[in-house]
């Protein structure tokens, strides 16, 4: 079984700095990390690799510093890591990103399964998984918690509004993995092996035979008009009186804010 895991390097949410001109996020190595919503996909890939001796490729699009998340993926599970990187890919919206990932996957060729996170911690759209499946013309399921392989189809479980849905999907397919999966750390030996045995392949626009009109800012159908940080303010309210009065006062305050009806 061949698995491709799509991952992204994001910026720690408390350290976001925005380019005033392009309204895109400024990345530096110190504040960047693997999108936490991608970790569950890597964990599921690890389980599948163990169960079926699957081969796992980690794939990302981004500038050179995104290599760091590929090293992390190599330490956790991946046998191969590919960085799709080209200055023309920058400032892409989710559509242009999905196109580039799709072209990368076409170049990889043979695959049974693509795994993605549910969303990213820094832009939070949840688009890329489903868009990538559309780009490749394959079925997808989001919020997947469990994957079973049965011959030429997968049987997956997802939680939906208090129900557990069981869905059968023909191969190849894309699943966006639920963020509820338990995650674990790679060991020092796994990190050592990733660096001694692994390498990162970098593919640019020409390597992918991609249409320059469909990548980066040129290929984007949406443009972020503005990005304004919202300072969250918390204030503490002291409720006076005896316990009975305090309880009454608390209930009325919660009702005022529609937190209790």
């Amino acid at each position: 079984m061949n698995i491709i895991v799509c991952i992204k390097q994001v910026i720690s949410t408390d350290q976001v700095k925005i380019d005033p001109k392009t309204h895109s996020l400024i990345r530096t190595s110190e504040v960047s990390r693997l999108n936490s919503f991608d970790l569950p996909s890597l964990m599921i890939a690890k389980e599948l690799k163990k169960a079926f001796s699957a081969s796992v490729i980690a794939l990302t699009m981004g500038p050179k510093i995104s290599e760091e998340v590929l090293w992390e993926a190599l330490a956790i599970v991946a046998d191969r890591a590919i960085l799709l990187s080209d200055p023309r890919f920058s400032a892409a919206d989710t559509l242009a990103t999905s196109y580039v990932l799709g072209m990368g996957i076409r170049r990889i060729g043979n695959f049974d399964l693509i795994l993605c996170g549910m969303r990213t911690a820094d832009s939070d759209t949840g688009h890329v998984g489903p868009q990538l499946a559309e780009e490749l013309g394959i079925p997808h399921v989001t919020g997947v918690e469990k994957i079973e392989r049965h011959g030429d189809y997968f049987r997956v479980e997802r939680m939906s509004d208090g129900f557990r849905e069981i869905i059968e999907v023909p191969k190849p397919a894309l699943f966006a993995i639920s963020s509820k999966m338990k995650v674990s750390f790679p060991s020092l030996i796994e990190i050592q092996d990733a660096f001694s045995q692994g390498q990162i392949e970098t593919w640019g626009l020409e390597d992918l035979n991609a249409d320059p009109q469909k990548v980066g800012i040129t290929g984007s159908e949406t443009f972020v008009e503005d990005l304004i940080p919202i300072a969250e303010k918390r204030s503490c309210v002291f409720i006076e009186g005896d316990p009975r009065q305090q309880a009454r006062s608390l209930i009325s305050k919660l009702m005022e804010k529609n937190l209790l009806s």
Binding site: S29, R33, E67, E68, W71, E72, A75, F185, P186, S187, L188, I189, I191, Q192, A194, F195
Partner: protein, 383 residues
């Protein structure tokens, strides 16, 4: 000269940082309060190879470089110095001398379970009448056929309460302690092995520091590390490298003290603005940060030299001396920023303050480091 971490070192730092945040941060205060060894994290750290960081792969170790090793010890100690100490002693002065001086059989038997974290190690040098003056030990190991009969009263043994495999420094020649100074591997629980009371220490309280008493313990001669008379060399080699780990631990404590002081200075409002807006506080914080960076660089340099195979005593003694002093100074300044709250148990700075102080004493006091440095200085000026 390249002062930036490699991608691999960054990954290792990140691993240790996230592990400390997720697993150690929630327990750091309570294990200190309760003076409790946290068994619940031992298996987790073992799975990450934290017990055999630099041991050879064939004996279950991860063989990481010394700077990576420092990064792990620093990140762990930044959150919980007592666990940092446990790892620094286990890896630095037990696993390392076994890797360097052990026979293949000894490595299979003792090193592998230690490196895999199935067993915990301790280094037993100090006695009631022998601390900095190591050659004053009174412990003896008298050869009797295939065994040594070992008698020893070892005190202030870090990890002592939980250690399974202990390196005991003793003398096989009571007439000439120096000539007979030897290192013998002893396993917990053999007849005559007794664990003393837990030390009621000021800091590092989650580490079960205690005394170890050996009374007529029968230890196979195959447990002798190196040859008879090699003990002093083994102890000093272990301590020279071990000091790098303790320096990294001190850097971690200093960084942790700086972290919580910055956090507090941002939250605490006095005279209408957060403390950090006051220039007096900014000056203290900038001094603290400068000292931490300097200590870290000295420690990294010692680690770098170790991997180069260079002579270590001078640089590791300097790293340990400066980092230990930095930890104490930075924790003290941090406590000052916290004011009255810093002196209470409500905030973690008091724990950093107590833990930091030990780094100036164990694995060679500041004064012993100064002697080591001075010796090397004299050699250099004679050239």
């Amino acid at each position: 000269m390249n002062l930036s971490l490699s991608s691999k070192q960054k990954q290792i730092k990140k691993l240790a940082k996230e592990f400390a945040k997720m697993e150690l941060s929630p327990i750091a205060k309570s294990i200190d309060d309760e003076r409790r060894f946290p068994w619940e994290v031992v298996e987790k750290m073992a799975a990450l190879n934290f017990f055999g960081m630099q041991a050879p792969r064939e004996y279950g170790g991860a063989e990481i470089d010394s700077i990576s090793y420092c990064l792990v010890i620093e990140e762990i100690s930044r959150v919980c110095a007592a666990i940092g100490l446990m790892l620094a002693v286990h890896n630095g002065v037990v696993v390392y001398p076994l890797s360097k001086f052990g026979t293949h059989e000894q490595k299979l038997k003792f090193l592998t379970p230690l490196a895999k974290g199935e067993k915990i190690g301790a280094f037993c040098l100090t006695e009631p009448n022998a601390g900095s003056d190591a050659l004053s030990i009174e412990s003896t190991a008298i050869k009797n056929g295939d065994y040594y009969i070992v008698n020893a009263n070892k005190i202030f043994v870090t990890n002592g309460g939980v250690a399974d495999t202990l390196i005991i420094f003793t003398s096989v020649n009571p007439e000439d302690v120096k000539k007979g100074f030897s290192a013998i591997i002893v396993e917990r629980g053999i007849p005559g092995f007794e664990v003393g009371l837990l030390e009621d220490n000021c800091g590092m309280r989650a580490n079960p520091v205690c005394s170890i008493l050996l009374t007529d313990c029968k230890v196979p001669t195959t447990n002798l590390l190196g040859n008879e008379g090699d003990g002093f060399k083994i102890a000093m080699t272990a301590l020279d490298t071990g000091r790098i780990g303790i320096a990294a631990q001190a850097v971690g404590i200093a960084q942790g003290a700086l972290d919580v002081s910055i956090k507090y200075a941002k939250e605490r409002i006095q005279f209408g603005v957060p403390l950090i807006k006051h220039q007096a506080i900014q000056m203290i914080l900038s001094d603290m940060a400068t000292m931490v960076e300097a200590a870290r660089l000295l420690t990294f340099r010692a680690a770098f030299l170790r991997d180069q195979g260079s002579e270590l005593s001078y640089s590791s003694a300097m790293a340990k001396l400066f980092s230990a002093r930095t930890a104490s100074k930075v924790a003290s300044l941090g406590l000052q920023i916290h004011g009255g709250y810093g002196y209470s148990k409500q905030y973690p700075i008091e724990r950093f303050f107590r833990d930091a102080r030990a780094t100036e004493i164990y694995e060679g006091t500041n004064e012993i480091q100064q002697i080591v440095i001075a010796r090397e200085l004299l050699k250099k000026t004679e050239d």
